[in-house]
């Protein structure tokens, strides 16, 4: 059968087995009972028959004794001896009554009756039972069952009358009637019927003979009597069966009760077995749904308990592994802060329409510190920064480490003012110097703020905007910048910017400006950096920081960069033709670096304009490398294979290590302007820059200092072995024509 549940199956098996066993028992008892009833019936009949026969013998002996005593009575004998008919009849009546004989007959030695109490017979008639007389003559006395002429059955006893020799016989008849049969029945416990064999009538019966022929309900045994008579002894089978039927009835009751008890018991037992299983399976479903928190009910000592305990262990194991995986997935291992993924998820749980702010915090010059003092110090510095930032997290907010030294706050329901206040608090907190191994480290940081939903609809957009704002803040040295201030016109303005850029590219509104790069060793201008400028017909000159991040963000940079490269290579060709030994640098964005046709296009340009590869230098930011390091390396290898110089731009802002950069085919490192600005003010910064220069040289890299503005800086850089300097202090970006004049007027000043 298809059973529904374990509980049912257990109950069915238990009860089924019990019913089976009990059925066997019942069948056994039934068949045994039937056998026992059969045997008992036969036994009772046999015993009854024996008792009946003994009773008959005993009766007969009693009757004989009574008859003998009577026949020895002197007066009786005397009366008989008188041979006086009336006297003899009277005396036999009288003495017959003494022993309750219903029939008395006195017979002479010659076999003829002297007197009788029977009306039908008379004196002188022959004795009606000559066989009895013959037996008596042989044995002294005789007895037997005889039917008289009146049809009645008698037990007849024949004894002699001695005076002192035998003078006569006296026969005494005792009525064998229904009462006699009933008395016999009482003693034997059987129904007693006397019949003449072969005739239907009952001569005496202890009951109605209704059942004599009904063989099924009665068992019987025949006891032969003399004179062609027989006693039929009957035993109602039901009488023997009754105790067994009662027994079977009780057994049935017991079995019924047992089955009931068993059913209840097994259902309860099954319940006790199944309930923990159900709880386990419910727990398993919870675990499947990812809810590991709810512990299992306390386990009992049995096997299910052990299973539950194992299950509990499994749950704990899964929970802890899940937690570890969760940590790995969501927690930054270095600082124990949430990671970028966790941050994005947390943003997803922001109350829709509730507003909020994303703040990206970046430690200034971290890469320099990391390279100069080692990774361990860098890591500890990051942990210290995390420790300083963590207490600032407001309720409902979050602090995450995005990557490197980039941290981000998520502030719920914060407007621009609240975000500004919070950013100030962050900068104030970071102004406390950090002490590592007894060394004080002055930390400065920038904060970029993007507001939700004003600056973007999702977390990644807001982060990017905030990072752009951060970059702007660093460039402006303003500490804090809003995304809306940087590339972040309102959406409609941005859309118009795209259109403007497209138009500008076609209309030739973009131009390149070239800023000279001074080789400190030779005092010569050895290269220029090509910088994009946009002269808007209505808005006038648009700062690169306002449209380049936007172009990168929208992908439009992929249309601008080829134009820039084309222009730069053309210019390089012009200068090359003019005999000027000047290399031209151009900037590549992240998207450019991932362009699979980059290498082919650059080679085509160089070949078309017949420019030696070494006259072209491509500058890449650290962050551009980090987006897809593998692909970036492949493309850099391709470019390097052409013989083009490669330079890392804005080094020190990101978190790329020197060791990593060394694995790239890079020739040059451009220190971020923020380091240069600080060198003459902070000995610590100076030490970092110095060690960076030394390390770079050790790795075979040319070091370029950006943002050199003062002669003091220039002197310091030359003194400390920096290879190339760039900045307003040397020359501003200018058009190609202006640059030619500027070069003509340039006097290398080795004294500075």
């Amino acid at each position: 059968m298809s059973s529904r549940s374990l509980r049912h199956r257990i109950a069915i098996v238990f009860v089924g087995l019990l019913v089976l066993v009990m059925g066997f028992v019942l069948a056994l008892v039934h068949s045994s009972s039937a056998r026992i009833v059969e045997r008992e019936t036969q036994r009772e009949l046999a015993v009854g028959a024996k008792v009946f026969q003994r009773l008959l013998e005993q009766n007969q002996r009693q009757l004989e004794t009574a008859a003998a005593v009577l026949s020895a009575d002197f007066a009786f004998r005397e009366a008989i001896a008188t041979q006086d008919q009336p006297t003899v009849r009277s005396v036999i009546r009288n003495h017959g009554q003494r022993i309750h004989a219903q029939v008395m007959m006195v017979t002479g030695i010659d076999g003829r009756m002297i007197a009788t109490t029977q009306r039908a017979a008379a004196a002188g008639d022959p004795f009606p039972f000559p066989d009895l007389l013959a037996q008596a003559e042989a044995a002294g006395r005789s007895a037997g069952f005889r039917q008289m002429k009146n049809g009645q059955l008698y037990q007849v006893v024949l004894v002699p009358i001695m005076a002192p020799t035998r003078i006569a016989w006296v026969a005494m008849g005792f009525h064998v009637d229904d009462r006699w049969a009933s008395d016999m029945a009482d003693v034997t416990g059987l129904g007693v019927h006397i019949v003449r064999a072969g005739t239907p009538g009952l001569l005496a019966s202890s009951a109605q003979r209704a059942a004599l022929e009904g063989g099924a309900r009665y068992a019987h045994v025949d006891v032969p009597l003399d004179g062609g008579l027989q006693a039929v002894l009957q035993l109602p089978v039901a009488q023997v069966q009754a105790p067994f039927e009662q027994l079977q009835g009780r057994l049935l009751g017991v079995i019924g009760a047992a089955v009931l008890v068993f059913a209840l018991g097994s259902v309860m037992l099954a319940g006790r077995i199944v309930q923990p299983l159900n709880e386990l399976s419910a727990a398993a479903r919870r675990i499947a749904l990812g809810d590991y928190a709810q512990p299992l009910p306390p386990a009992k000592g049995d096997e299910i308990g052990q299973l539950a305990a194992s299950f509990e262990q499994m749950r704990n194991g899964i929970a802890s592994r899940e937690e570890r995986i969760g940590r790995l997935a969501y927690v930054d291992e270095l600082t124990d802060l949430p990671n970028r993924t966790r941050f994005l998820e947390a943003f997803g749980r922001l109350t829709p329409g509730g507003g909020g702010a994303v703040l990206v915090v970046n430690v200034d010059r971290f890469a320099l510190i990391n390279n100069a003092l080692g990774h361990l110090v860098g890591d500890r510095l990051l942990r210290a920064v995390a420790g300083q930032l963590a207490p600032l997290v407001p309720p409902g907010g979050m602090l995450a480490r995005l990557w490197g030294d980039q941290f981000a706050f998520l502030l719920e329901r914060a407007d621009a003012d609240a975000a500004r206040t919070f950013a100030d608090a962050v900068l104030a907190a970071l102004r406390d110097p950090v002490t590592l191994d007894g060394q004080r480290l002055d930390i400065e940081a920038g904060v970029g703020i993007a507001l939700y939903p004003d600056d973007g609809p999702d977390a990644s957009t807001l982060l990017r905007r905030a990072e752009l704002a951060l970059a702007a803040a660093k460039r402006r040295h303003s500490g804090v910048a809003f995304a809306s201030e940087t590339g972040a016109e309102p959406a409609h303005e941005q859309l118009s910017l795209i259109g403007d850029m497209r138009r500008a590219l076609a209309a030739g509104e973009f131009t390149l400006a070239y800023q000279p790069k001074l080789a400190l060793g030779s005092g010569r201008i050895v290269a220029v950096e090509a910088l994009l400028r946009w002269q808007h017909p209505e808005r006038g000159s648009i700062a690169p920081a306002r449209f380049i991040p936007f172009a990168e963000q929208t992908g439009f940079i992929r249309e601008i960069t080829p134009w820039v490269l084309d222009m730069a290579v053309r210019q390089a060709a012009v200068w090359h033709a003019a005999g000027l030994d000047i290399a031209v640098s151009a900037n590549l964005s992240t998207l450019d670096l991932l362009d699979p046709y980059l290498g082919r296009r650059v080679r085509g340009l160089l070949e078309r304009h017949a420019v030696p590869a070494r006259r072209l230098c491509l500058e890449i930011t650290e962050s551009a490398l980090m987006d897809d390091p593998t692909l970036a390396q492949a493309h850099l290898d391709e470019l390097a294979g052409l013989g083009i110089k490669l330079s890392i731009d804005d080094y020190g802002v990101g978190q790329a290590s020197l060791a990593y950069l060394k694995s790239l085919p890079v020739d040059e490192l451009k220190l971020d302007r923020s380091f240069i600005t600080a060198i003459t003010e902070s000995p610590r910064n100076a030490a970092i820059v110095e060690s960076t220069i030394m390390l770079s040289h050790a790795l075979g890299l040319t070091v370029v200092a950006e943002g050199v503005e003062t002669q003091a800086e220039l002197r310091w850089l030359r003194a400390h072995g920096c290879d190339i300097a760039q900045g307003y202090g040397i020359g501003r970006p200018m058009t190609a024509a202006q640059l030619q004049d500027w070069l003509a007027a340039f006097v290398p000043d080795m004294t500075v």
Partner: protein, 213 residues
């Protein structure tokens, strides 16, 4: 064998009445040839007067050891018989026989009056207290009779010469035997006769049966 008093008397009478007398010696045998004890041999004259028993003719059947002794007695008609009780217990002697009905109720010692057997015939005597006790008296009209001993022999002495009918009788005889006629002279008559009778069977003293009660 003990000599019977009446027989002796008869012998004396015969001797006195007639000069010529002779004994009749009879051997009674069963058909099988065994001796028949306690058989009566009766010699009755066929002619002439039968001598009466003298007045005061007497016999006795005593009770000893709860038995009648003798078991069988032959007397001439008119003989009085005493029933002396030599037991320490009493007896109740009776007879329902036709020739002489009598009853001597519980008595000890010698009863006051003897019983006179005045009619010929067989008288069976019993004791109402002791059912096994049994005695038989044959009353005859002749003075000539005898009883066989254990050897089956009996001698009727002093039978005067003449013609006689000789009869045999036994209490347990199976059939009446036809009488013989004999002539008695001077010489003794010797006869061997057959009588089919069962011997006396002493009946058990049921009173002594310890299991009876």
């Amino acid at each position: 064998m003990p000599s019977s008093s009446p027989a002796l008397l008869a012998l004396l009478l015969a001797a006195a009445a007639s000069v010529s007398a002779a004994p009749v010696e009879v051997l009674v045998q069963t058909p099988a040839g065994g001796p028949v004890a306690d058989a009566a041999v009766i010699v009755e004259p066929l002619a002439g007067p039968v001598p009466h028993a003298r007045a005061g003719a007497h016999a006795a059947i005593e009770q000893r050891g709860r038995e009648f002794m003798p078991w069988m007695t032959v007397v001439q008609t008119g003989t009085s018989v005493d029933f002396p009780n030599n037991d320490t217990i009493r007896h109740h002697v009776y007879s329902f026989s036709e020739p002489k009905r009598f009853e001597i109720k519980l008595y000890a010692g010698k009863p006051g009056k003897p019983i006179v057997f005045d009619r010929p015939g067989q008288v069976d005597i019993g004791c109402n207290i002791h059912d096994w006790m049994e005695a038989h008296v044959l009353v005859v009209d002749t003075p000539y009779f005898a009883r066989t001993g254990a050897d089956g022999r009996a001698t009727v002495a002093g039978v005067p010469a003449g013609r006689y009918r000789l009869r045999l009788w036994h209490p347990r005889q199976k059939a009446q035997v036809a009488p013989d006629e004999i002539d008695v002279d001077d010489a003794p008559v010797r006869l061997t006769l057959a009588l089919d009778a069962k011997p006396r069977e002493p009946r058990p003293h049921t009173e002594d049966d310890p299991d009876r009660y």
